[in-house]
């Protein structure tokens, strides 16, 4: 890989778009702690991020929403050290505030009369949704497999769907536009967010450490993410 | 009878035009370049509308702003040979004639049969050639022929002999005279060659006698 060390006072971060709010907050906190250092974050789908790093983008730190995409990056030999998990997320059922499908539990989603949307099996939220159904021993036929979790959420907000499987953080972030229905822990699935450095720059490493630090973890918790320790 | 008694826009000016042509009669318009000969033909054919007054033919009013009458070009059945021909370059001669025939379907029976036209204007050899590749004189003959596929109510000839060779010229003049007689329709002829007017037995009128400055202009 031809990734050069970026200039001393800037940390360039690539992060999954579901981390937008969390990483914007993390960036400004880090800048306050390290005056003179600037953190710029470019967001995108995890798969886009993987392509960018493999394509030789001039980047210091990378954080994705799935271990699968991070593995791709690692296999391409782009990482300076093994990635570390820094956050987790669990799934919830999102329904419109009026709950037109009268959904109260996961098992109802197996009823074809309940219009359900989930993510496609290729994206992390789809993998998680499938795992939830497996854990609950349910066969669910959704009306659409969306490309990302925000699309699932948008369907529910627009009342196009009566239920959707989304991340807990999404339900939290959308306020009163959707209602969350919890999935019992025994049936729930967890996704893990890994982070890694791409360059040897000191700043990159410091930002990496900062995300894993107590202060960084507090920011993530505020956004609804679980701590990495909770991953199986 | 074609009657023009109207105010037209000729270039930047308005002008009163008065002209009457009997059925079967050919009137030759004689006047310098830019005197409005083509402009008069555009008004008769329905491609332009008069400002005031009226144009009528065979008792039917074609254009009279006063009574809000305007018969569109399509409905006037005028046989107009344009100064710049305006053929469809991409078609073959027969395709073009057939297309025009399809547009005048209901009156094609009264027109000149296709075979007769091809014979009369010597189009046999070039019938399947693309119009865009024809020589100047060949194109002129196509332009004339297509105007008689249906029976014309009026014939407008804007320099129809321009590119025709000597023998074709007299032959076409003859043919045109015959058609005007056959369809018993009024004809207007523009040519800058006195011989052409003679060949067509046209009553020549001077543009200065036809066109006058409107009162109060």
């Amino acid at each position: 890989s031809s990734n050069q060390d970026s200039s001393g006072d800037t940390v360039r971060v690539l992060a999954a778009s579901s981390l937008t709010e969390a990483f914007n907050t993390l960036a400004s906190s880090f800048e306050k702690l390290h005056p003179g250092t600037k953190v710029t974050v470019s967001f995108g789908a995890s798969s886009t991020i993987a392509e960018q790093v493999k394509g030789g983008a001039p980047i210091d730190v990378v954080a994705t929403a799935s271990t699968a995409t991070m593995d791709q990056i690692q296999q391409a030999g782009a990482l300076k050290q093994a990635p570390k998990s820094f956050a987790t997320n669990t799934m919830e059922i999102a329904v419109p505030p009026t709950n037109p499908g009268n959904v109260t539990s996961l098992s109802q989603l197996a009823d074809p009369a309940v219009k359900t949307v989930i993510c496609a099996k290729q994206v992390p939220c789809g993998v998680a949704a499938q795992k939830v159904f497996e854990n609950a021993k349910l066969t669910v036929t959704p009306i659409s497999y969306e490309a990302d979790v925000k699309a699932v959420l948008a369907r529910v907000v627009a009342k196009e769907a009566q239920a959707g499987i989304v991340y807990r953080t999404d339900v939290l972030a959308s306020g009163d536009k959707v209602k969350g229905i919890e999935i019992p822990a025994a049936e729930n699935a967890t996704t893990t967010y890994p982070i890694a450095t791409v360059t040897d720059s000191a700043n990159a490493n410091e930002f990496f450490q900062f995300v894993l630090s107590d202060e960084g973890q507090a920011v993530l918790k505020e956004q609804g993410f679980g701590s990495p320790a909770s991953a199986q | 009878m074609l009657e023009i008694d109207a105010t037209l826009q000729i270039g930047a000016h308005q002008a009163d035009v008065q002209l009457t042509v009997q059925p079967g009669e050919a009137v030759g318009l004689w006047g310098p370049n830019g005197s409005g000969k083509t402009t008069i033909m555009r008004h008769v054919s329905g491609l332009a509308g008069v400002l005031d007054g009226r144009i009528a033919n065979a008792g039917q009013v074609w254009d009279e702003p006063g009574s809000r009458t305007f018969v569109e070009a399509t409905g006037r059945y005028v046989g107009y040979i344009f100064q710049e021909l305006r053929l469809f370059d991409w078609q073959s001669v027969t395709d073009h004639l057939q297309l025009v025939a399809s547009w005048r379907q209901q009156s094609v029976e009264d027109g000149v049969p296709m075979d007769e036209l091809i014979e009369a204007f010597d189009l046999g050899d070039i019938a399947s050639q693309t119009i865009g590749t024809l020589s100047g004189g060949q194109q002129t003959r196509v332009g004339i022929a297509r105007s008689f596929i249906a029976a014309p109510s009026v014939v407008l000839l804007d320099e129809p002999f321009a590119s025709l060779d000597e023998s074709t010229r007299s032959q076409v003049a003859n043919q045109l005279q015959q058609y005007i007689c056959r369809f018993n329709c009024p004809a207007l002829l523009v040519s800058h060659d006195r011989d052409d007017h003679v060949a067509m037995s046209a009553r020549v009128v001077n543009m200065t006698d036809v066109v006058s400055t409107p009162v109060g202009a």
Partner: protein, 262 residues
């Protein structure tokens, strides 16, 4: 031999640079795609299904775009003044909408709770019709603007001649006006078709993605990129080859259109 048709050297040089710029990225992908993944792609029924859906929907889009877009272009080319400005702005609108927003906009108008559809209880989203509508929304403007530009580039001398010869307004339009700009109609159709074929954001937002119903090839590729990027590349390459086959098959009619015209 003919100066009028000689292409200045600088034009050729610039054109070759531009062509290389456009071709290189696709070649780079091609080079980096392992052949094994090709075989995998070609034998995948899912991929075949997505390609087939894409070809069908984009063909439908082009046909609808021709039916609705050409009259629109004709109307636009004849408007003048403020009305022309506003109508053209309406047509350009879908072009500048980011694709995802276009999808959201389509939902707002024609979705389950759409302004137009909700009162009649019509449910279009999640259907193949929704895929076609999304493609039509983003791709038809390309046809309209191309055709309008060409219409404005021709005078109406021949149209006038046709009117005198007895052609109805419809016949004039069909046999003269549109005949004169045939190459531009072909060009506009190709742009429209290509845009429809590559459409992703609006389709997935409005029509969702269900295999065989609304999972078009770009959606399939996007999803494959998540887990098997190599496979995504090879699917893209297959897609490119299919598209090129169509373009080259269409070339005859295109060249034909030109020869007729010359």
């Amino acid at each position: 031999m003919n100066t009028a048709l000689r292409t200045p050297r600088v034009v050729t040089v610039i054109a070759v640079v531009a062509l290389a710029f456009l071709a290189l990225p696709a070649l780079a992908v091609l080079i980096r795609t392992p052949w094994s993944s090709f075989l995998h792609t070609l034998s995948s029924p899912e991929v075949a299904q997505a390609i087939w859906l894409s070809l069908r929907t984009s063909a439908a889009t082009v046909i609808l775009a021709l039916i609705f877009g050409i009259p629109t272009a004709v109307l636009l080319s004849r408007l003048t003044g403020a009305r022309a400005g506003w109508s053209r702005a309406l047509v350009v609108l879908p072009l500048v909408l980011p694709p995802t927003v276009a999808g959201v906009a389509l939902l707002a108008a024609y979705g389950g709770n759409g302004v137009l559809t909700a009162p009649f209880g019509i449910q279009l989203s999640f259907t193949t019709i929704a895929v076609i509508l999304a493609q039509l929304f983003v791709a038809m403007p390309f046809l309209i603007i191309t055709v309008e530009g060409a219409l404005r580039g021709h005078g109406n001398q021949l149209a006038e001649a046709a009117a005198v010869l007895g052609a109805s307004p419809k016949a004039i339009l069909w046999r003269v006006t549109l005949r004169q700009i045939r190459p531009a109609i072909v060009a506009g159709s190709i742009l429209c078709w290509a845009r429809a074929l590559g459409e992703f954001g609006a389709t997935i937002t409005f029509a969702g993605s269900f295999p065989g119903i609304s999972q078009t090839l770009p959606t399939e590729v996007y999803l494959l990129l998540q887990t098997q990027p190599e496979l995504a590349y090879s699917v893209s390459v297959v897609f490119i080859l299919v598209s090129l086959t169509v373009v080259i098959a269409l070339r005859r009619s295109w060249v034909g259109a030109v020869r007729d015209h010359a």
